[in-house]
Symmetry: C2
Subunit: 145 residues, 2 copies
DNA sequence: TATTGTTATACTCTATAACTATA
DNA sequence: TATAGTTATAGAGTATAACAATA
């Protein structure tokens, strides 16, 4: 979605939503560069981070965090389990829900990915000064929260 | 993708890309609210705006602006033509490409949508002061350009 | 040869709805 | 009744590849 030279973008240039979309696409390219060759996607990475930070989380809660339906959270979990990154454990108190946990291999893989993604995210953000980057994060938080 | 209370988002909260994604989802809801009941989507709205601002544009160039393949630009154009919002005109100099133009009905519909989308975008951005909003747009532009 | 539009096809992601087992 | 997970199915959006017409 690079800007096409000579094209008039009309009202789009006045929309905060469109500016955010452009910026998000640019940062998505950063993510893609950082995870090249692996079969990782933003939702998969997000899921791994959240499972890692919230051991024992249920699939439904994971789905809520990602903003997707339970059925989608299950497919995502299947992928993580199939790759040996996550395991489902029965919960003592509740026979319905699984508790999700990183495997040792998953924790190791996530550690590598996290470092790469964070480094590339920072590299792309380097067009801004450190103060500008913090200000941008603050404004985004204020907008969203 | 509303934040789930009590959940630890780990490294995600340190990623500019994730902050942008959250903000973009929030503004997408603004778009959705502004176009409720119409069969419009962000890509369709974007396409209409770009055709309106660049009369005679080709399908391929439209696709480039949207960051999608030619085949997708054609389906998008089919939708706009099918709704009577856009018409294809042969170009005098080049028998290969179509020139896309808004119909009077398309111009009228776009005018209404543009006003609604812009108003709702501003309304959601009202959590920021006018100065903050301008600063946010500036930072996003600096990041992307 | 290169470009534009078109067509056919396939893939990914997601939603919905119905089902089961547990609570 | 309500919730968690599962399964089946369908739809939207997109990409790729091949083709015809035109440059």
């Amino acid at each position: 979605m690079t800007r096409v030279a000579g094209l008039d973008y009309g009202v789009l240039d006045q929309l905060l939503g469109y500016s955010l979309r452009r910026a998000q696409v640019a940062l998505f390219l950063a993510f893609h560069a950082a995870t090249r060759g692996q079969h990782i996607t933003p939702p998969r990475f997000t899921a791994l981070v959240i499972v890692g930070a919230n051991p024992g989380i249920s699939q439904s809660t994971l789905g809520s965090a990602l903003g997707i339906a339970r059925s989608g959270a299950m497919l995502l979990t299947n992928w993580m389990v199939g790759r040996g990154l996550v395991e489902r454990r029965r919960r003592p108190g509740d026979g319905r829900a699984w508790g999700l946990h990183l495997t040792p291999r998953g924790a190791q893989a996530l550690g590598r990915m996290r470092a790469a993604v964070l480094a590339e995210d920072r590299r792309r953000a380097a067009k801004l000064s450190a103060a500008e980057r913090r200000e941008l994060m603050r404004l985004l938080e204020k907008l969203t929260g």
